[in-house]
Symmetry: C2
Subunit: 397 residues, 2 copies
Amino acid sequence: MRNVAVIGAGVSPFGRLDALLYQEIGRPPVNDAIENAGIARKLIQSCYYGTCGGVGVGHEIMNETGLMGIPITRVVNACSSGSNAFRLAYMDIASGMSDCTIAMGIEKMKNSSMAVVGGGTRFQIEAKAYSHGSPFSLGGGGGMPAGFALMGRAHMKMFGTKREDFANIVVKSRKNASKNPKAEFQTQMSLDEVLNDVMVNDPLTRSQCCPRTDGAAAVILMSEDYIKEHHIDTPIWIKASAMGSHFLGGDPSYPPGISTDADTARRVFKMAGVEPKDFYERGFGECHDCFSVSELVHYEDFGFCKKGEGADMINDGVVEIDGDLPINPSGGLLSVGHPLGATGTRQIAEVFWQMRKDKEVAKRQVPDEHLDIAFTHTLGQPGLGFTNVMHVFSRDL
Amino acid sequence: MRNVAVIGAGVSPFGRLDALLYQEIGRPPVNDAIENAGIARKLIQSCYYGTCGGVGVGHEIMNETGLMGIPITRVVNACSSGSNAFRLAYMDIASGMSDCTIAMGIEKMKNSSMAVVGGGTRFQIEAKAYSHGSPFSLGGGGGMPAGFALMGRAHMKMFGTKREDFANIVVKSRKNASKNPKAEFQTQMSLDEVLNDVMVNDPLTRSQCCPRTDGAAAVILMSEDYIKEHHIDTPIWIKASAMGSHFLGGDPSYPPGISTDADTARRVFKMAGVEPKDFYERGFGECHDCFSVSELVHYEDFGFCKKGEGADMINDGVVEIDGDLPINPSGGLLSVGHPLGATGTRQIAEVFWQMRKDKEVAKRQVPDEHLDIAFTHTLGQPGLGFTNVMHVFSRDL
């Protein structure tokens, strides 16, 4: 595979953007990413964009940013749509088809066919001919919060995890997001405030569920050849990409968590030639904290601690920006918000800017010694299956 | 780029399949493609599927065919969804990420967010904030048949093309489809019957508009390394892939036709190292005949004849199965039908089987001397833009 790097990124403000057209949300981050990369836009040869609800918006945004004519591919993969689009933009260059591509994610949740509402769930997936009775399926239990709440309760029962442990993840999330001017929620919350928020599905209170948010994010990718030819400074190299799938309901033989996340993490770390301990020594990451429970089980599924020890990661401050393994310095889905298609590319913008020490992240900068490697992770549920996408990035080729 | 070939294909019956679930339509062609390839299904490492309306159906079909666990990517690109999925499955292997992938297309038009109805049009694209007044846009004229009818009338005015010329394309289409047991329309039509069919938008009568059809098609792709290792017979090599986009309304400076089709054809032929004349000598192809007018302008846009001479191609029998340059031996979209996501992979199954002289196409077999090279072409309209995808295939590496 040819070497490929991220060379620029742009992110819109995240929030309730009902009054804006898709184009008005998506144009600025595309233009910002091009400016951030410092390249002529005519270098861009291909566009991949992830969105669940935005029919044809890629064509409109490419047209309005002077990029019409290039191949434009729309990817729909629920909450993994943006990271999936990025993976395709990566393979496009890695294959030799293109030398410079743009990956974009965008969502207006009102227009989305799937809408996750903070403090409840309104999952409008197409009527299915049958239901599998899983806690994650509509027929079986009440949607996403119910599924992750059950996972949290199983975790509490099996490992003695407490409601406070999950809630502390939101406290950390809001603290980080208070330094992120693009985040939907920039106000800090105390542990008591999180615990006493409206109950959605025990142990998940409202602030432990990611909000219904609109937004867009774009990143520019480039081949090593072009990077040399065009003298690009500080490319952030893509060292590995992995993607997995699982039928709904998870793996009953697996402890509370997502077995396919554990599998995909193993594969992406292997492809990158790194191990979980390497992130403690010199890395950080952005994971898919759609709920507080999700982030806690990710610590375990990715091998950053043993199964059942996730609570220690948050309670001991390991995952704080100045901790041993910073997780979600942006504030994550819980506070930045989760426009389904945009989240994956928004995460990649975050790790790119962090590793470049860009002014965009100045107030929440991960310390120098942790900027060598980074990972991103999304988990989506398109219909009756899970899809996760992970990437590993490095400052060194 | 690594060399990649098609090694197996499966196509469902095309027609009104309201009573069937997505899984029931999609499972058989996936299983048939694996059997046609003669490989163990565990070799398949990645799935790309195109569908406009099938939320998450890729996960369900992969689950029910024993393929769950692999990366599953859904592509939505209107009528180019299936060919776009194939292009991604190609780049996945070409990049070195995988060695064996499956590309699938599927549509149930009742569930699709875009539904083209034979004998009229019901285009349910998301409400747009503004209309461009193009004949192709909803606000401006009445959808797809109106747009292509206007193109046909401009062609008549500029070049003296007659209603009979367009209608003759349907006569050829039905003749070929009468030898295709998977086609929706297998009954031949006379020129008079086509001309006297219900008028939709002059010069387009109902049978000159592709029908509203359900169906699915799948193809298996493999790397050269795996083909050698697994002793695969008669792979059909992918020599080139190209894709283009254009904002709605076409190019007013271009004669009646689609300028982006002409551009994409030039690029894909160049990448494959062939010229239009090579198809006369040793090739054939499947193009996106969503309307009779479309196929006629494709002859011209692809460089098979000069602008304005498309009528000669059909009237002189050039594009018949036993002609100098067989086009749409399957019967094309006009007679096989056009399930948006499935059409691109269905076309590729056709050229694959033709080039392999598979029993599937025995009754409509393109003569030996024309089986060296082949092209496929789709043209879609996702929202307010055009997207086309073309591929060139060869029996020789």
